[in-house]
């Protein structure tokens, strides 16, 4: 498929950055018990998403036309996303600048930025969903999965960032507990996504690629073990700061691998479908007409 690591990185960074911002800012609304989460989220949000944008731009075939990405808002999720993600980067970036300059920041703007962050987390799902010829992607479960994954990886990024920044878990342990919930939700959504993919004839092959085929190692080791089980374990039993940090790193890697294997398994549906028992009038003629 056309989209590989660069786009996977963009999907991952945009999701994780906006997730980190949203999770930590929302946490911040609930009070100082969660310090220094809001600052970490602000510190991570805009830069990660911005780097993600750079990955996207680096993947463009004709970069000189990159600004045209904003033109077709009416129908294109890419254009809508370009506005969303740019607005987020501008606002969250300004907030970061304010933070570094120790200026205050109006919480109304933060609330708006959180909304943009959530939109960023979700829209990448709608982006892929718009590819209607790829059944594996073309489902409303995908935006939900991206939201869930962006939330959990966002929190992991905050925990990791906070741990690195402050050298200890401290109040982040609470956030880790929240992450455990998010990982469990993500696991459920992922299961739902696979179940939906499995029941559809056209996407069954993609699910098989994940579970038993060429992508199975990436799925089982990368996504299930690194991305879900290890973070979950250390979210629940934060044995040591170092181990938690390591677990969060693995969790983030799992998030990236998840994006990558979603792209990789997005094979185009067959151009026609012939059911041998009921091929329909046209394909019936083809079956009868050609030798057999």
């Amino acid at each position: 498929m056309t989209w590989r690591w660069r786009i996977a990185s963009y999907l991952f960074l945009a999701g994780t950055g906006s997730g980190a911002y949203a999770a930590s800012t929302i946490a911040g609304f609930f009070g100082s018990a969660w310090d220094p989460a809001p600052e970490v989220g602000v510190a991570l949000g805009a830069p990660l998403v911005f780097i993600g944008m750079l990955f996207l731009i680096s993947d463009l075939g004709a970069k000189k036309n990159a600004l045209r990405a904003f033109v077709n808002v009416r129908t294109s999720w890419m254009a809508r996303g370009s506005w969303i993600i740019s607005a987020f980067v501008v606002l969250a970036g300004a907030q970061l600048a304010a933070l570094l300059l120790h200026w205050g920041w109006p919480s109304a703007v933060s609330a708006l930025t959180v909304a943009l962050a959530v939109a960023t987390m979700i829209y990448t799902g709608f982006l892929l969903k718009a590819c209607r010829g790829i059944s594996f992607w073309s489902t409303a479960v995908l935006p939900v999965l991206f939201l869930a994954s962006a939330s959990s990886t966002g929190v992991m990024a905050v925990v990791l960032g906070g741990a690195v920044y402050s050298g200890s878990l401290g109040s982040l342990a609470g956030l880790a507990k929240a992450d455990a919930v998010l990982v469990i939700i993500e696991s459920l959504v992922l299961a739902a996504y696979l179940e939906r993919g499995r029941t559809l004839r056209q996407s069954r092959g993609s699910v098989r690629m994940w579970l038993r085929g060429s992508l199975a190692p990436a799925f089982w080791v990368g996504v299930v073990v690194c991305g879900l089980l290890v973070p979950l374990a250390f979210d629940v039993y934060p044995a040591s700061t170092v181990l938690v940090a390591l677990a969060m790193s693995l969790g983030l890697a799992g998030g990236l691998v998840l994006r990558r294997i979603i792209l990789a398994a997005g094979t185009r549906d067959a151009l026609f479908s012939i059911s041998p028992s009921d091929p329909g009038p046209f394909w019936g003629k083809v079956l009868r007409g050609a030798a057999g």
Partner: protein, 907 residues
């Protein structure tokens, strides 16, 4: 900007289906496109279209890997591991070297110590080189004896038995169906939608629309089978058994007297000829004419007497007569029991029940039975049709056969049974049936009907190579001994190339004491041929080529054969040189036109490399070898397609003058148009450059031999092969008199009624010849053609590779999916395929349209030198297929099949 786009008419004859007419789009001297020649669409059997190979011409011309100028070898050693170390030289030097070698050979005498020509030439690509070799033919004619017998796949791999017997029976060197009116086409692996050009694609598409039923009988589902109504996956090499089963149904389960074409059998075949106890015709003692039994009078009468109209087809009779056997041996009978040939046929096919055939062929008996009945029913014996004012029988049934069916052991049986099936319902050379084309061995080359002259015993004349004591060629005059070993190959212009063309390699590489003494030719010329790739088993070929003292290859790119050359001459290719070629009439399987004429191939583009026009090369070599007068004389006699001097005109080349290629071809253009128009129109090269082709109407009645046969009161020499039986006996005597016993099994093919033998067994037993166990090689490896690569020299064209990649089997060996799964294989897995003589590696493609015991490798590949082709990863089966006397049939032909085993190598 402002480049002017010119459309230059030309032809594409890269494969045997041409020439097809197209236009080259040229911008500023550079070819940028190809399109059909719509100007001539209404006169071309495929509406002016051309196939992928023509579209590949642009890339072919600008291939940067082309040999860019004449090259000489600087490594004196030749061998597979010996890099030739080419050094580019000037044309002047190259032509001097070439002419020098020719002069030196000529000074030693035209023939070597064994009586073989010192000059040999090999042309590949199934007869297409003459559309590209300019006046090379005239040069070779000017030279004198040339050995054309070093094979390059043709002869030993082509429709060999069908060529020779088709020619023998109905002047059908090429057997074609009357596609525009056939209603039932039974095809044993005849892959026309791939191999018979755009004409086949167009005509068969129309036939499908019309409702023609096609039954495709072959081990793997080819492209053509995809377009068939029924596919019957038959076991390889059992096609004859299937047809024997069909004959049995018609002659033993049906009322043959009521449903077959008895008048046809009686008057146009040897069915009523009485056969004596020794198996020869019972002849009138005085006139020595074969006798038939006049049922009305109850007496035996000569076949051409009045009473023959009521000749018996069945029964046993008693009469006087004489049998004439080999070498004039004769048996006079006062009274002897005798039976019509047709009765012998009935008796002969009795054991071959559909049930028997089904078990041999691994198909359903009902398929055979049903098909035989449908064949007879569809033939609609008695129906007629009017063609150009003449009323002809209309028999819309055709049985066609493809490669590996029509060559190698079992082919005689298959071709014979097919022709007999057709004859039973009078479906020979009439509308709707099968017929030959103008391409033939028998002369005159211009007119098929004239070639059907009155011969012996009521049949068409046929000058089989002599087997009599006085005239048999005990010492072959060329190295493949075609005249010595194969009476049926005749002695016509391309008989040599059709001979047992693997033999020279065998004779040189592994001598047996009674084999003819053979030395390498002093000079070997290769044009459009790559025997290292296209012959079976390249090993003996390589061992032979190493020994050749001087090899000149006309070279487009470096390849596996010119690796052994001393001189590479890059000729101007398709779009870079000029030539006039015949088009139209009837010339190949689907090449049936309603016009006939000539078409131009011209210099459409500026030269890309330091190349030279073939006509200029030939003229220069003729001059430098002192043969210019002979060369002109040959051209004047018509070696370029038209006589340059007749009573009506004189465009002849004059001795002492020098002519460029354009001047020569301008004269050919004028002579050709005057001839075609009956003197009314004269068109020069300039006119052709603009207009592309000159065509005159060709009446459809000319498609069918039937009227000529009737007019000349000729019979088809079927079903009983009395003459071959006799000739075979004579050949046996001659060979044994000369101590030659290595051709004994081949002599078994000379049977009057060819018996079924275990033909698959011939190949199944091969491993034991190498001390291996046959059961260790459980698969058949077969080949099938690729339309995109039907011209083998395009193997190095990457754009074609892209397009061809859309069709199954390119870059992989195909295998039945169930078999593959049982072996733990998946599509894309690497496998090793092994025969007793070698091993090749390939990716496997699992598919359903394959017999479980068959593998198929597409085309002729396995290159290791040719640029691009060597990186395709397309395996070639030739390296696994040994050249053996055991697998060589009586016509000197082998077949593309070999028993192999498969092992998995990885992902």
């Amino acid at each position: 900007m402002g480049l002017v786009l010119k459309k230059v008419p030309t032809y594409c004859n890269q494969c045997v289906n041409g020439p097809d007419l197209c236009k080259v789009l040229v911008e500023d001297g550079v070819a940028v496109g190809i399109e059909p020649n719509f100007d001539l669409a209404d006169r071309h059997p495929a509406k002016g279209t051309v196939c992928t190979s023509a579209y590949a011409l642009v890339q072919k011309t600008y291939n940067p890997m082309r040999v860019r100028g004449p090259m000489k070898r600087t490594n004196p050693k030749k061998g597979l591991g010996e890099d030739p170390r080419w050094q580019q030289i000037s044309w002047d030097e190259a032509l001097d070297v070439f002419a020098g070698k020719l002069r030196a050979a000529r000074e030693k005498g035209l023939l070597d110590e064994n009586g073989h020509p010192r000059l040999a030439a090999t042309f590949g690509e199934g007869g297409t080189p003459d559309a590209y070799y300019g006046s090379l033919n005239a040069l070779l004619q000017a030279w004198g004896p040339v050995d054309f017998g070093f094979g390059t796949g043709q002869g030993v791999k082509c429709y060999h038995t069908e060529h020779l017997l088709g020619e023998f029976w109905h002047r059908a060197f090429i057997v074609a169906a009357d596609t525009p009116s056939t209603e039932l086409l039974i095809s044993f692996g005849h892959n026309d939608n791939v191999t018979s050009g755009v004409q086949a694609i167009y005509r068969h598409a129309r036939a499908r629309e019309r409702g023609m039923k096609r039954v495709q009988i072959e081990p793997h589902m080819s492209v053509t089978a995809a377009k068939a109504d029924v596919w019957i996956p038959i076991r390889p090499k059992t096609d004859a058994a299937f047809l024997f089963g069909m004959l049995n149904v018609v002659l033993h389960e049906m009322d043959w007297a009521g449903s077959c074409d008895a008048p046809f059998l009686r008057s146009m075949t040897n069915s009523p000829y009485l056969i004596g106890p020794h198996g020869y015709y019972l002849r009138d003692p005085l006139s020595r004419k074969p006798l038939v039994w006049d049922e009305e009078e109850g007496v035996a009468v000569p076949f051409d007497s009045k009473g023959a109209a009521s000749a018996a087809l069945s029964g046993t009779f008693a009469c006087a007569g004489v049998e004439v056997g080999p070498d004039g041996d004769s048996w006079a009978h006062e009274v002897t029991p005798c039976r019509p040939a047709f009765q012998l046929l009935i008796d002969f096919v009795k054991p071959f029940t559909p049930e028997w055939a089904a078990s041999v062929c691994d198909v359903q008996a009902e398929s055979i039975r049903g098909l035989a009945k449908e064949f007879v029913k569809t033939a609609a014996v008695g129906k007629t049709i009017e063609v150009d004012g003449l009323t002809l029988p209309f028999r819309p049934v055709a049985i066609l056969m493809g490669k590996t069916v029509t060559n190698g052991w079992g082919a005689y049986q298959a071709v014979w049974a097919r022709t007999v099936m057709q004859a039973l319902v009078g479906a020979l050379e009439v509308p709707g049936s099968i017929m030959g084309v103008n391409t033939r061995l028998n002369r005159p080359m211009s007119d098929r009907f004239e070639s059907a002259t009155i011969g012996e015993d009521g049949f068409m004349s046929q000058k089989l190579n002599p087997t009599s004591k006085e005239n048999w060629e005990a010492k072959p005059h060329v190295r493949n001994a075609y005249k010595t070993l194969v009476p049926l190959v005749l002695d016509s212009s391309w008989s040599q190339a059709l001979g047992p063309s693997t033999m020279p390699y065998l004779f040189i590489s592994e001598r047996r004491s009674t084999m003819p003494l053979v030395s390498p030719p002093d000079v070997w010329i290769v044009f459009k041929a790559n025997p290292m790739i296209s012959m079976m088993d390249p090993k003996p070929v390589a061992e032979t080529l190493e020994k050749f003292p001087f090899t000149v290859c006309f070279a487009y790119v470096q390849d596996e054969t010119n690796w052994f050359a001393d001189l590479l001459l890059p000729e101007s290719t398709d779009l870079e040189s000029v030539q006039l070629a015949r088009v139209g009439g009837t010339s190949y399987q689907e090449q049936f036109w309603d016009s006939i004429g000539v078409a131009i191939r011209q210099r459409a583009v500026d030269p890309v490399c330091d190349t030279m026009d073939m006509t200029e090369i030939s003229s220069e070599i003729a001059r430098r070898t002192g043969l210019l007068d002979n060369y002109y004389a040959s051209i004047n006699r018509g070696s370029l397609g038209s006589r340059l001097r007749t009573a009506k005109y004189d465009f002849s080349l004059k001795n002492g003058e020098r002519y460029g290629a354009d001047e020569i071809w301008d004269r050919v253009c004028r002579a050709a148009t005057l001839t075609l128009s009956g003197g009314r129109e004269e068109r020069g090269l300039d006119w052709f450059s603009e207009n592309g082709a000159y065509l005159v109407p060709f009446a459809r009645i000319n498609w069918y031999l039937h009227p000529a046969m009737v007019a000349k009161r000729l019979r088809y020499e079927v079903p009983y092969q009395e003459r071959l039986f006799r000739v075979g006996e004579e050949l046996r005597r001659r060979l044994h008199e000369n101590g030659i016993e290595w051709w004994d099994s081949q002599l078994n093919e000379y049977a009057a009624l060819p018996p079924w033998e275990d033909f698959p067994g011939v190949w199944e037993r091969v491993p034991s010849l190498f001390g291996k166990k046959p059961e260790d090689y459980p698969f058949w490896l077969l080949t099938t053609k690729s339309l995109q690569y039907v011209h083998g020299a395009n193997a190095g064209n990457p754009m074609l590779a892209d397009a061809a990649g859309n069709i199954m089997g390119h870059r992989a060996v195909m295998m039945n999916a169930g078999t593959g799964r049982r072996m733990g294989l998946e599509t894309g897995d690497r496998i090793a395929i092994e025969s007793p003589i070698g091993r090749i590696r390939a990716n496997v493609l699992l598919r359903e349209g394959m017999r479980p015991d068959v593998l198929v490798a597409l085309g002729q590949f396995g290159h290791w030198v040719m640029p691009v082709a060597k990186d395709l990863g397309m395996p070639g089966m030739n390296r696994l297929n040994p050249v053996l006397m055991e697998t060589t049939d009586g016509t000197g032909s082998g077949a593309d099949l070999v028993r192999v085993r498969v092992t998995k190598e990885g992902r």
